[in-house]
Amino acid sequence: MPPIIKVEGLGKQYRIGSDGSAYSTLRETLVNRFRSPFNGAQRRNSEDKKIWAVRDVNFEVNAGEVVGIIGRNGAGKSTLLKILSRVTEPTTGRVELHGRVGSLLEVGTGFHPELSGRENIYLNGAVLGMSRAEITRKFDDIVAFSEVGKFIDTPVKRYSSGMYVRLAFAVAAYLEPEILLVDEVLAVGDAGFQRKCLDRMKDVGRRGRTVLFVSHNMPAVTRLCDRTILLDEGTILQDDESHKVVGSYLKSGLGTMAAREWDDLSRAPGNEIVRLCAVRVRTDDGRVTDALDIRFPVGIEIEFEVLKPGCVLLPNIHVSNEEGVLLFIAAENDPAWQRTPRPVGRFISSAWIPGNFFSEGTIIVGAAVSTMDPVTIHFFERDAVAFQVIDKFEGDSARGDYAGPYPGVVRPMLRWTSRGPEIKTARAANEEITR
């Protein structure tokens, strides 16, 4: 039986304009044409930087396989999925898909805020490739799955974000193509609903549907996928059983990056108010590190540039472990900037996390800057930096002299006090004997 997906020599090249803007103005093109009417095209090309987002990717997927795609940010995962779902065209190579393709690059594609939940189910269903009859047939199941119930005739702009996501995912969950492409859509919604979605996807896989699943959620990948492809810088680094690939990905430190810097501000995460310049992990003596001694404090440093004055900005970090469990969120509390609009300029905010707090393993930090009133997220870089927490087994960490497995998402060094029958000191005991 031939593979259901066949990818051969696939490559996608993006052009980054010298001015950083993706689209050109008419004037620019006209001026270039006028200056050099015969080689205008080449001229422009030579000024541009080109990058390969995906390069020479080959793989095959058999019908019924559930394949995970992992890799750090910018490894080409999303580009690969966009090519497979025909949103964008490859520069080189070829893909053969033997079956209907459904792609879920986000939840709620095509949702219109003014329309009711009912109307959006039809609209979103049509956008995802379902026929009207098919949607009508599945309508009740979709509503039941979404748990929005009596709000089905309310415009979705009045929905809470949780309801919105649940409704959007419910439509997607009832999509029944032969090939399903899913990109990180489970990064939204509450934990209970996420579990429900994961179960539904597992179900989909079991029924012989082929699924390609891009995710940062390593436990989800190992649980859902039999096989995982690891991408780095646009090429396949490893393609094997999921637990092997996920294991080596986490061990290799590919997932860890102690500092991320954005040189070109116009392409950095952010908006016209504030943009992210860098995120770094620092030890208390100021070194950037991706290996933290479990006993010592660590600083997460967010460097950002305020472009427009007058906004109250709240830098915050989102710290999770390698299993994707969110350990905590922390927002800046420096009294100098509480409820104080920031002037234009560059800021560095550091959050200090005490020593003897994390468990051993990989810690992933997301960095964001938001405004609370009204709630606006200026940027949220999900996996901005990561580092390894290492116990050197010198006996003074929380694990003491014990060297075996030590579960738990955090490992605080607590102050213990113990009471019991009075124990006499050796000297007192000696005195008693001699008396």
């Binding site: 964008t88 065209e89 053969e96 690059l105 003014e114 609209l123 490739g129 012989g208």
Partner: protein, 301 residues
């Protein structure tokens, strides 16, 4: 961008690894999608468009539903826009300037022209901006991109139908009786739709690459209005210059649309022929250039 064929050569062998039998074996009618970088010449693939007609329906339905949401007057706007413009024109051009209107009362003369014009102008404007405002769809999901400008044009037909009822009312009021010529209204509306689609589709594709288009559209529309016989009849121009006006494909449409409504003179087949020819040239050219630009939409929009 991609070529989709319905393969008939897939052998229907049984799957040895799946003793339970697999209902998802590729049957002879399993669609095989081949994705490759496209060459400079891109086929139109009208079959693909046809298979996505359900989505086109929903895009039109969405535009119609959303257009007058949270407005006080709702769909009345579809009538008010041509009606108010007609009143102003009647006052300025009919009464003050005293423009002759080929033997029919100026208000219905102007309203007849405005019906076609407002539909055309709104369709071109909406479809010209449609791709850019649908960026969230284009970057997330595949479907033939032509559906977006096409949906924007088609959604305008609902407004046209509403406004048309007022035309009938006005004609009854002024005692102008339609004749069998009224049958031509439908083909003329179809022709206007195709012309709007041709122009709108091309502008929408250019708009993705050059955001200048957004600012150029209102200007273009304004110029186009004055070079179309909406306020004035073609016969107002000196005979030897009338051919210049005929090069505007809307001239033949509007002129014959009025004849269809009022039945006051025989159809001008020559100007209609020219309009039809230009419309098809525009439509074919813009379809091919749209397909050629289409592959970069998701990367640059």
């Amino acid at each position: 961008m991609t070529s989709e064929t319905f393969s008939t050569s897939v052998p229907a062998e049984t799957n040895q690894n799946d003793p339970g039998g697999n209902e998802r074996l590729p049957s002879p009618d399993t669609p095989v999608v081949v994705i490759e970088g496209s060459k400079s010449w891109v086929p139109l693939r009208l079959g693909d468009l046809w298979s996505y007609r359900g989505l086109l329906y929903f895009l039109i339905w969405r535009d119609v539903k959303v257009r007058y949401k949270q407005t006080l007057l709702g769909a009345t706007w579809a009538i008010l826009q041509p009606l108010m413009t007609m009143l102003i024109f009647t006052l300025l051009f009919g009464k003050l300037a005293g423009i002759k209107s080929e033997g029919v009362p100026y208000p219905i003369f102007a309203y007849g022209g405005l019906l076609i014009w407002i539909f055309f102008a709104n369709s071109v404007t909406n479809s010209g901006n449609s791709l850019v405002s649908s960026a969230h769809l284009i970057t997330k999901i595949y479907f033939p991109r032509m559906l977006v400008p096409a949906g924007a044009v088609a959604a305008g037909l609902v407004d046209l139908a509403l406004a048309f009822t007022i035309q009938i009312g006005l004609m009854i009021y002024y005692g102008v009786h339609p004749s069998w010529a009224l049958m031509m209204v439908l083909p003329l509306v179809v022709l206007t739709t195709l012309l709007a689609l041709g122009v709108g589709m091309w502008l929408s594709a250019l708009n993705v690459k050059y955001r200048d288009i957004r600012y150029a559209i209102p200007f273009l529309i304004q110029l186009w209005m004055f070079s179309s016989p909406i306020i004035y009849p073609v016969s107002m121009l000196p005979v030897k210059w009338q051919w210049v006006l005929t090069l505007n494909p809307l001239t033949g449409i509007i002129e014959n649309f009025r004849i269809a409504l009022f039945g006051n003179q025989p159809f001008n087949w020559k100007s209609l022929g020219i309009s039809t020819a230009i419309t098809f040239v525009v439509l074919v050219y813009s379809s091919y250039s749209f397909r050629r630009m289409e592959r970069h939409f998701a990367d640059i929009v």
